[in-house]
Symmetry: C2
Subunit: 150 residues, 2 copies
């Protein structure tokens, strides 16, 4: 009773092509990221465009986007269609901006680290690496909690 449309992939085939595990595709489906149809034997059949969709998901993940956000972005597409070139332009522009932010933050951290390697300035109250959190070392009254040496 095998019913098979031209150009459709089984879950195993898609998994191999997309470089992910079958369980991962099930998981993405459970999370609403992909919605394959079912054949008359209840097996998943992936129209070919879902391969591109999975590729996009993976790229976005590499960029540090969560699956929830990826789902949002994809579902915001008209008719939840597989992204066209224009759709992809919007998605990738957004994600690239996010990437830029991450890179900027990490680069700043790296530069601070480079500047602080061996300097021992972790012990200072104004060390740029520490200050995001340990702003002052003072209480509300302005009293210094730790002596200058630490």
């Amino acid at each position: 009773m095998a019913e098979r449309l031209e150009n459709e992939l089984s879950v195993g085939e898609l998994a191999k092509r997309a470089g992910v595990a079958v369980s991962t595709l099930h998981f993405y489906e459970a999370k609403g990221l992909i919605t394959p149809r079912r054949n008359n034997g209840n097996q998943r059949r992936y129209p070919r465009n879902l391969l591109r969709r999975v590729a996009i998901i993976r790229i976005a993940q590499r960029a540090g986007i969560s699956l929830a956000e990826i789902r949002e972005a994809l579902s915001a597409l008209p008719a939840e269609r597989t992204p066209t070139a224009e759709d992809w332009q919007v998605l990738s522009s957004n994600w690239k901006a996010r990437l830029d932010e991450r890179i900027t933050a990490l680069t700043q951290l790296r530069d601070e680290m480079a500047g602080c390697i061996g300097c021992g300035c972790l012990s200072l109250r104004d060390c740029p690496l520490r200050n995001p959190r340990d702003e002052l070392g003072r209480t509300a009254t302005g009293a210094v909690l730790l002596s200058p040496g630490e």
Copy 2:
């Protein structure tokens, strides 16, 4: 029966100074990252140098190092002592290298994304964004699974 050494911090004080929750400090302790002593009422007392240790943990986390690895790095220090300037030099050099790797990878991804925005090349077998995984689009026999258009 309060027994209190000079310069020691309670868990609440350390939490406030380090900018983390008390539960976080308990968690770090459970994971072997910090080991405060106990006073005679069984309450944690943190020698002041643990404040620096916590700062280092947080910096490493920002760099994307897991707590397990941070624990390794810290416990590799002679006598598990609080890092001196030289120790910190070793630690931060290693972590900076890790950061550099991450930044390089993300930058490459960003550049690929920039190059691919709107180009629609996701559909090509040689798209740099896809190729880390979807190497060939071929079976072991060399047969092309998908037509060139997809």
